[in-house]
C-alpha cells in the first residue's frame, strides 16, 4: 500500500502526474500496477463500504460521539482523514497490496473493515479508506498514463497508447499497451487561441461555425489508417463506425477534421497529401484541394461567407466563430472568436472558504425557481483580490450555516454573471449549469428580489432585461 498511498498523496496535492506515476510504476508489482492503472484511468473500483458506515463504525470503536467527530473533521480536512487519524497507531504496521485489501474487505462488516485499517500505518490509511469507500476521485488523462509507461519502459513518448475501453486489470499490463508505429502518430495540432479582434481586410480570413467538439486527425500513411483525438487518445479501436471512412482514405493523406454530429466528419484542413509539399500551400489552397476531392470520403467543412466584419460580428455574437488566415500554413493557429457572453443576475448562496493563502475557494450563485433558489453556477472568476478579501470578511461575519469549509450565507448579495452557454445537468437541482461563468459586477443597489428566474436561462425570450442579442 505504501507506494500506492504515496502516489495518491502526490496526485491529490497537485504534484506533476507523470513523474509521480512513473515513480509508482517502478516500485509496484505488475499485478498491482495493472489494478492501480485501471483506477486512475477512470474505472472506479466497486466500494466495499460506504463512507458514512465507516464513520459510524469508527465513532463506535473509539467511543466518540458524532458531534465530536464532526468537530474533528474541520481540523482533519475530510471525513476520510478524520477516520484515518481517529484510529490508534498500529504497533506493528502491516503491508498489503491495495487490490488484495479491496478483495478482503468486500463482504465484511464495517467494524471488521475498521480492524483491517487499524493494522495499516496512518500514512497509508487515507488511501485505503478512499479505495474502500469508492471516493478515489482521481482520473488521469490517457496520454499522461501512456507517457509514464513509455518513460519507464524506455519507449518513445507518444508511441504507447492505451486500449482502455476494453481492458480489465485481470488481462495484465501487456494487454493494455499497444505500440503504435512512428508513422502512425498524429502531427501536433495547430493551436487554437482566442481571437484578438478584427485585423486587416476581412478577405484575408476564412470563417467557420464555432465547434464545441474537439478536433480530430484522420491519417493514413504507410500502415493502417488511424483516428487521433486532440487530447492524444487513439480513437481508431473505439470508432468502428468510422472504419469505412478510414478504408476509403487515400494513402498518404492526413486531414484535420471535426465531428459536428455523430458519424458526420467535416474536413477542416489538409495536412499531408501524397508526399506533396502541403506546407508550402496556404490555407485557402489546401481547402481548394479538399474541395477537389483530396479528402476522399470526408466532406469539406462549410465556411461562413464573409462580406464584411460587421456581418461576421453579428454571427459571432450569437454562435461564435472559428477563424483562420487564408495564407496560414498547416501549423499556424486557429482563432476562436467566442460568442458574446450571455448575462444573468444571480444571488450568492454559498461560499467555500480556502486554506493556505486563499480566502475564498469558490462562490455558488443561484437563481429563482418558484419560491426557492437553485444553484446554477460556481466561480470566483472576475473578482479582484481586494473584492475577494472584502467578501471573505462579509461571509465570515454573516454565515448562517457551515458544511465543512462551505458557508451558507443569507441570499442578499446580487451579482451580474456572464456565461457562454447553458448546459443541461439532470443531477443538479436546477437541471442545468452555466458554462464558463464569470462575475461581471456586484449589484449593491439592486434588491435581491431582482434575481433572475430559472426559465429565463433556458428561454432567453423570457429574460425581463431584454438583452440585445
Amino acid at each position: 500500500m505504501r507506494a500506492f498511498a504515496a502516489l495518491i498523496e502526490a496526485l491529490t496535492t497537485g504534484a506533476p502526474a507523470v513523474p509521480a506515476l512513473g515513480a509508482y510504476l517502478r516500485s509496484a508489482s505488475p499485478v498491482e500496477a495493472a489494478h492501480v492503472l485501471s483506477w486512475v484511468s477512470g474505472q472506479r473500483p466497486r466500494p466495499a463500504v460506504t463512507l458514512a458506515a465507516l464513520r459510524q463504525a469508527a465513532c463506535r470503536a473509539e467511543g466518540i460521539p458524532d458531534w465530536l467527530f464532526e468537530a474533528s473533521r474541520a481540523a482533519a480536512g475530510s471525513v476520510a482523514e478524520t477516520i484515518a487519524h481517529l484510529l490508534p497507531d498500529a504497533p506493528t504496521p502491516e503491508e498489503v497490496a491495495p487490490q488484495d485489501l479491496l478483495g478482503q474487505c468486500r463482504g465484511l462488516e464495517p467494524d471488521e473493515i475498521l480492524a483491517r485499517l487499524e493494522v495499516l500505518p496512518v500514512t497509508v490509511r487515507l488511501a485505503a479508506i478512499r479505495l474502500l469507500t469508492g471516493t478515489l476521485r482521481l482520473t488521469l488523462p490517457a496520454p499522461q498514463i501512456g507517457q509514464a509507461l513509455a518513460e519507464i519502459s524506455g519507449g518513445i513518448a507518444g508511441a504507447i497508447v492505451l486500449k482502455l475501453e476494453t481492458w480489465r486489470p485481470e488481462m495484465g499490463l501487456a494487454a493494455l499497451i499497444a505500440a503504435v508505429a512512428p508513422e502512425q502518430i498524429a502531427r501536433p495540432f495547430a493551436t487554437l487561441r482566442p481571437f484578438t479582434g478584427p485585423a486587416g481586410p476581412v478577405a484575408d480570413w476564412a470563417a467557420f461555425p464555432r465547434m464545441d467538439q474537439p478536433r480530430l486527425q484522420v491519417l493514413r500513411r504507410t500502415g493502417p489508417a488511424q483516428v487521433w483525438a486532440e487530447d492524444g487518445r487513439l480513437l481508431t479501436g473505439t470508432r468502428p463506425d468510422l472504419a469505412s471512412v478510414l478504408q476509403d482514405l487515400a494513402i498518404g493523406t492526413v486531414i484535420e477534421a471535426v465531428e459536428p454530429q455523430p458519424g458526420v466528419l467535416w474536413a477542416l484542413d489538409l495536412l499531408e497529401w501524397r508526399g506533396q509539399p502541403v506546407a508550402a500551400l496556404g490555407f485557402a489552397q489546401r481547402r481548394a484541394l479538399l474541395a477537389e476531392g483530396c479528402g476522399g470520403p470526408i466532406g469539406l467543412a462549410p465556411a461562413v461567407p464573409a462580406t464584411d466584419w460587421a456581418a461576421l460580428e453579428l454571427i459571432r455574437r450569437r454562435e461564435g466563430l472559428w477563424l483562420r488566415r487564408q495564407d496560414a500554413g498547416p501549423d499556424c493557429p486557429w482563432h476562436d472568436w467566442a460568442p458574446h457572453p450571455r448575462e444573468t443576475d444571480a444571488v450568492l448562496v454559498h461560499a467555500e472558504l480556502g486554506s493556505g493563502g486563499r480566502d475564498i475557494a469558490g462562490l455558488t450563485f443561484a437563481v429563482r425557481s418558484g419560491t426557492a433558489l437553485v444553484p446554477v453556477a460556481r466561480t470566483i472568476d472576475g473578482l479582484s483580490r481586494e473584492d475577494l478579501d472584502d467578501l471573505g470578511t462579509w461571509i465570515r461575519r454573516h454565515a448562517t450555516a457551515r458544511f465543512g469549509p462551505v458557508r451558507e450565507v443569507p441570499p442578499r448579495r446580487l451579482y451580474r454573471l456572464g456565461f457562454e452557454a447553458v448546459d443541461p445537468a439532470p443531477r443538479r437541482k436546477a437541471g442545468l449549469w452555466l458554462r464558463a461563468p464569470r462575475i461581471l459586477a456586484y449589484l449593491p443597489d439592486h434588491s435581491p428580489d431582482q434575481v433572475a428566474r430559472l426559465d429565463s436561462l433556458t428561454d432567453p425570450a423570457l429574460d425581463p432585461r431584454g438583452q440585445d442579442r
Binding site: 481540523a75 482523514e81 486554506s355
Partner: protein
C-alpha cells in the same frame, strides 16, 4: 457560609485572591506565578515573579531586570493565604504546573504540558487535586502522536536526503523548548553539524547554565549552510538559498491545520488526545476547567464523561 473560590478569572487573567497572585497573567500585577517562559505565559510588567530556576533564568533573559523568586520543584511556599508549589509539566525544561492549596481545597493549573517523556524536560507529574485547570491545545481525538524516536528517524531521513543532494536542511522550531528538544534528539546523529539560530542558541546557553545537559552547537551566522548541516531556525526566519526547510509542530499532523506549510514533522510539546485524557484522569479532579485550545469541544467531551467541566473563560468569576 459559601467558601470563596480558590481561583477566579479577572481582567488580568487567572487569579488566586487568597494568595494575592496571578498565574501567567496578561496584565500588570503585583505577583505573577509563571509556569514557563513562553511569551504567551510570561509577560513583562509584574512587580515580582515566582518561577522554577529553569524558568527564572529564561525570564531574566527575556524580560530583562525583573524580580524573580526561585522555587524548585516540589517545595511548598506559603504566599499569603495560599500554599504554592511547582510540579513538572514536561512541556520544556523548567516548565511547571502550579499546585495551589487554600483551606484544604487543592487546585492545579497545568500551564502547557505533554505526557510523553522526551529525555530532556522533567517528565509530567500528575498531581492529585480537586480542581484542574488544563490546556487543551490538541483537544480533539484526531491528534495522536507517534513516539518521538520514530519522528526523529523521519527527520534524520530527510536530513540525509538533503545532504545527499548537496543541500543544507533547516527545521523551524520555537527557540525555547522545541529547539533544545531537537538539538538533544539529533545532535551527532546525522550527516553534518547542527547549527542554532541566535535566539535558540541564547536559550540553550541559559538552560545549560542552570544545569541542563545539552550538546554543544555552533551559532548560525546567517551565511549559506554547508552541505549536510542542520539548522534549527526560528519560525518565519529568512533562510539561505539551496536549503530544504521543514517545520516541526503538532499542527503538521492534519491537512486542515497545516495551513499550506511545506514539509512537516509531527513533533509537539503539548499533550495529544490520549495524553490529555490520561492526565486529567490521573489527577482525580472532579472539576476541570479547560483553556488554550479546543475549549468548547473538549469541555463538552469531559462533561459527557461525567466530570464537572467548562471552558475557563466561561467560569469567569468563579472556580
Amino acid at each position: 457560609m459559601p467558601r470563596d473560590p480558590v481561583l477566579v478569572v479577572d481582567p488580568k487573567g487567572l487569579a488566586c485572591p487568597a494568595g494575592g497572585f496571578h498565574v501567567d497573567p496578561s496584565g500588570k500585577v503585583a505577583l505573577a506565578v509563571v509556569t514557563h517562559a513562553h511569551a504567551d505565559h510570561a509577560r513583562p510588567g509584574a512587580g515580582a515573579y515566582l518561577a522554577t530556576p529553569g524558568t527564572a533564568v529564561m525570564l531574566r533573559q527575556r524580560l530583562g531586570r525583573v524580580t524573580v523568586q526561585e522555587l524548585p520543584f516540589g517545595q511548598r511556599l506559603r504566599v499569603a493565604g495560599a500554599e504554592v508549589s511547582f510540579h513538572p509539566s514536561g512541556h520544556l525544561p523548567g516548565a511547571a504546573q502550579v499546585r495551589i492549596e487554600v483551606g484544604g481545597e487543592i487546585w492545579v493549573v497545568s500551564g502547557d504540558y505533554k505526557t510523553e517523556e522526551d529525555g530532556l524536560a522533567e517528565p509530567f507529574e500528575p498531581v492529585a487535586c480537586h480542581g484542574f485547570v488544563t490546556e487543551c491545545t490538541f483537544g480533539l481525538p484526531v491528534f495522536r502522536w507517534s513516539p518521538q524516536a520514530l519522528v526523529a528517524d523521519q527527520i534524520r531521513g530527510w536530513w540525509q536526503s538533503a545532504a545527499a543532494a548537496g543541500q543544507g536542511a533547516a527545521i523551524a522550531a520555537y527557540s525555547l523548548g522545541k529547539a533544545q528538544r531537537l538539538l538533544h534528539l539529533l545532535a551527532g546523529t546525522g550527516p553534518g553539524p547542527v547549527l542554532l539560530h541566535p535566539a535558540a542558541a541564547a536559550a540553550t546557553t541559559a538552560l545549560a547554565s542552570v544545569g541542563y545537559s545539552l550538546p554543544a552547537a555552533s551559532v548560525w551566522d546567517g551565511a549559506a549552510l554547508p552541505s549536510g548541516a542542520l539548522l534549527i531556525a526560528a519560525p518565519q526566519a529568512g533562510l539561505p538559498a539551496r536549503t530544504r526547510s521543514a517545520m516541526a509542530s503538532g499542527w503538521m499532523a492534519l491537512r486542515g491545520t497545516r495551513r499550506g506549510a511545506g514539509q512537516g514533522f509531527v513533533l509537539s510539546d503539548h499533550a495529544d488526545w490520549p495524553g490529555l485524557n490520561a492526565a486529567i484522569r490521573a489527577t482525580g479532579a472532579s472539576r476541570v476547567l479547560v483553556t488554550h485550545g479546543y475549549e468548547d469541544a473538549f469541555a463538552r467531551w469531559l462533561c459527557e464523561q461525567g466530570l464537572d467541566a467548562a471552558p475557563l473563560t466561561s467560569a469567569a468569576g468563579r472556580a
